[in-house]
Amino acid sequence: MNDVKKSWRTALAIGAGGIAIIGGSWIRDYSEVGQVPSLSQRVLPLDGLLASRKSDVSIPVGDYYAEMVRLLKSEYVDNISDDRKLAAGAVKGMVGSLGDIRSLSMDPSEFRAFLNTRQGEFEGVGVDLTYELLPKVAPRKTDPGAIEGPPEDATEAAARAPSVPRLVVSALVPGSAAAKAGVQPGDWIEQIDSHWVVEEGIVRKMLQAQRDFTNRKINYEQYAKVQGEFRTRMVRALMPARARDRVVLGKTGTLKVIWRRGKDRRETTLQKGTWKLPSESPTPGATRLTFLPGDEDKVLNAVKSGKPIVLDLRNSMFGDESVMRSCLALIAPAGIYGQISTDRKEAAVAFKLAKGNANPPKSVKLLVDRTTGGVAEIFALALNSRGIAKLVGGQTSGDRAFREIVQLPDGSGYTLHTGTFKVGSGGPTKVAVSSPLPEVN
């Protein structure tokens, strides 16, 4: 169970994100210190920086990093020569420390696939997967019949702790292996091959069973059954990031995936391949937008045509902010459409269009659903909040994040959540979406 304990502990970097763990556990550290006779302990003054004095002057961060690299290279038992790999590791650690499912670091193959997905080129089984957190559980009072003591129990502690997210389908290529097997956006993954994918649901169930046993609501056998189920799953569990890689990376091979939709389970056997989202919308008369360069022309043509405008914003999560703003300015008048809020102390910044279209088109419909997110969702909300556009289809993903996308020299990269869009006051708080338009398949 140690490995999985470690996985929980180091789930701070879920490969592509930073979510801390429930319940905590300590890494058992088996170490013999100072057994090698030829080495002796010494304090390193970070040579050349502080010399032999202790002072309050803090070391410039770049120098601190460089010194640590130097120390590692000179002392580590093996030869270390790949500076970029060390730096990529450092970046991964920093991104992970944010603990934000919208700020994700990716290794070179993940990042390459991410950039391809932006352009509608998919590998794996034909889906994109994002992380979603379960809603928080409110702590409950202890029952009076309980064995005396707990001022705070494990369930309550877990409810307050950050969670392990679920892997949810955020994009689906029509005609792909997943689509053919009946997978839909919003489905989440429970198992891959014989590995259970770690997520919070089963942990909560386990902690609830503990609580129930302590409160004498269930007997030991019932408790042991839940505990056994939990243990069996944990032994061969996959952390979300590793699970994600199995599903979205790779162009060959077969995968057994068990998907969940509410209480329903769907077992599928899927052949990996390459899949492309058509650049045209499946809906006749609609223009597909992903907010990559070139989309401004599409919007301009649609506006100029004088015909009713239908923009398809589905399967669009990671568009570019500046392209989105240009598209917005072609349709909507200048003004403030909302706010960019952060978790920092600073006040929110207005989301503003400096220049716009003084005569917005009369009829604008936006096709949205769960696969609409990021700048695409922001675009939709901004237009909808001013009554300029109607939203058609299904509820959007809820991802209203502004992101920076950064690539490192070794091919790895990350997304950085920099702010969240909040609709301007006076605008609706809930997105009103009407029923979908007919589609061609």
Partner: protein, 418 residues
């Protein structure tokens, strides 16, 4: 003449095609990837290809500090960066310890803790008391085998990890700890005040498995008194006429190399135990002593599991490599290295692997992990794989409730004559 012209013109057109093809490829190469890469990298901030490691770190550090959604603390981000840098080696024992973790680690390894004199096991209500050392303070305070500890210093420990409960119970010598204790099946709890003291933990226990006439010898860790305790246990078992021996090293986290070497000296004389490879300088060898050899007239099985580490792996690995025992169980932990802690001026530390151990015949057993800390490779492979069945209640050391021990017994029975 016509033919000549023709061949020239063919030659020219071939050349033209060639030139055109060449240029066409260039033209296409310029056009297509350009628009592709513009789209592909739309809005992507690309770090310069010639950036040094330090520049990569610094520019991204500044970017995250300035732009992240969250309020980021300068030091936390720096420590996370350096921690991630060290973690990228894939060596779980080479880690960066920020000041608070460095302090905790230091306390732990200097063994500045003193216990209450009891062995605990997991229990849904807290911790179950498996053994109470009769000359320890817990016994004196009234703690008994079978008790369940549900609270430590007034705080409930139901649902807490066993290791954390033990950490709470341990503390400085002379200090007291308040344990809330219940007898299983009752509802009443009592409070025991226990004064912590230095405990000499017995690290070896033994018994005869009556049905099979085999000896069972458990070694919990390789501490200073372990060799003497081992010899004593061995003598007692042999006096009872055992036909085979199970040495149980499961969950043995290791300890002193010296102890492992001394114990191995009972099995082989003047043979290599480990070779240590340092970063600089020649390899160093540790060998068993001469003149300490014991004659083993029966087959031996060593039990290992995923928590057998370091000195335990050395001991088991050597017995295996010298053909003195059969290994049964599951792959061991994979600790085959020595770390050194480098304290830094800002009270953080770097714990770095500075040497590796190599066993006599095995390939390097050091463990490699992926980014989630999940083991990819490493550890000692047992000769006979045996998982611990957990579908029923497990009682280590009792054949009817310990599937790995049953397998060991099976192996020994097949090796003994009748």
């Amino acid at each position: 003449m016509a033919r000549g012209l023709k061949s020239v013109s063919i030659g020219l057109s071939v050349a033209a095609c060639f030139a055109f093809g060449f240029f066409w490829r260039d033209v296409r190469a310029i056009q297509a990837p350009s628009s592709q890469s513009v789209k592909r990298l739309a809005g992507v901030r690309v770090t310069g290809p010639n950036a040094s490691g330090e520049q990569i770190f610094r520019s991204n550090y500044q970017r995250i500090l300035a732009n992240a959604y969250q309020a980021v603390k300068v030091d936390d981000l720096k420590f996370a960066g350096v921690g991630g840098m060290m973690a990228s080696l894939g060596d779980p024992h080479t880690v960066f310890l920020p000041p608070r973790a460095a302090q905790a680690f230091s306390d732990d390894t200097r063994a500045n803790f003193f216990g209450v004199g009891a062995r605990l096991g997991p229990d849904p209500l807290g911790a179950k008391v498996a053994t109470v050392f009769e000359d320890g303070p817990a016994f004196a305070a009234g703690l008994r085998e079978g008790n369940i500890i549900t609270g430590v210093n007034g705080k409930s420990v139901g649902g807490t990890e066993l290791e954390q409960i033990i950490d709470q119970i341990k503390g400085k010598e002379g200090t007291t700890v308040r344990l809330t204790v219940i007898q299983p099946g009752t509802k009443k709890s009592v409070e025991l005040l226990v004064r912590r003291a230095r405990i000499t933990v017995p690290t070896v226990s033994h018994k005869v498995l009556k049905e099979s006439k085999l000896g069972y010898l458990r070694v919990d860790q390789f501490s200073e008194p372990t060799t003497v305790q081992f010899d004593r246990a061995l003598n007692r078992l042999e006096a009872d006429g055992i036909r085979g021996l199970v040495i149980d090293l499961r969950s043995n986290p290791g300890g002193l190399l010296e102890t492992a070497k001394d114990m191995l000296s009972r099995f082989v004389e003047n043979k290599m135990v480990v070779k240590m490879k340092l970063r600089n300088g020649p390899d160093q060898e540790e060998r068993t002593d001469s003149g300490q050899i014991h004659e083993f007239r029966y087959p031996i099985v060593v039990l290992i599991d995923e928590n057998s580490a370091s000195a335990a792996e050395i001991f088991a690995g050597c017995l295996h490599d010298y053909g003195k025992a059969t290994l049964v169980g599951v792959r061991s932990y994979g600790k085959a290295s020595v770390q050194q802690v480098f304290p830094l001026v800002d009270n953080s530390s770097a714990k770095i692997t500075v040497a590796k151990y190599y066993l006599p015949a095995s390939a390097f057993i050091g463990r490699k992990v992926d980014e989630d800390g999940v083991m990819i490779s490493g550890g000692l492979e047992p000769d006979l794989k045996a998982e611990l069945e957990t579908t029923k209640e497990v009682r280590i050391g009792e054949p009817e409730a310990d599937s790995q021990l049953r397998k060991a017994i099976e192996v020994l029975k097949s090796k003994t004559a009748g």
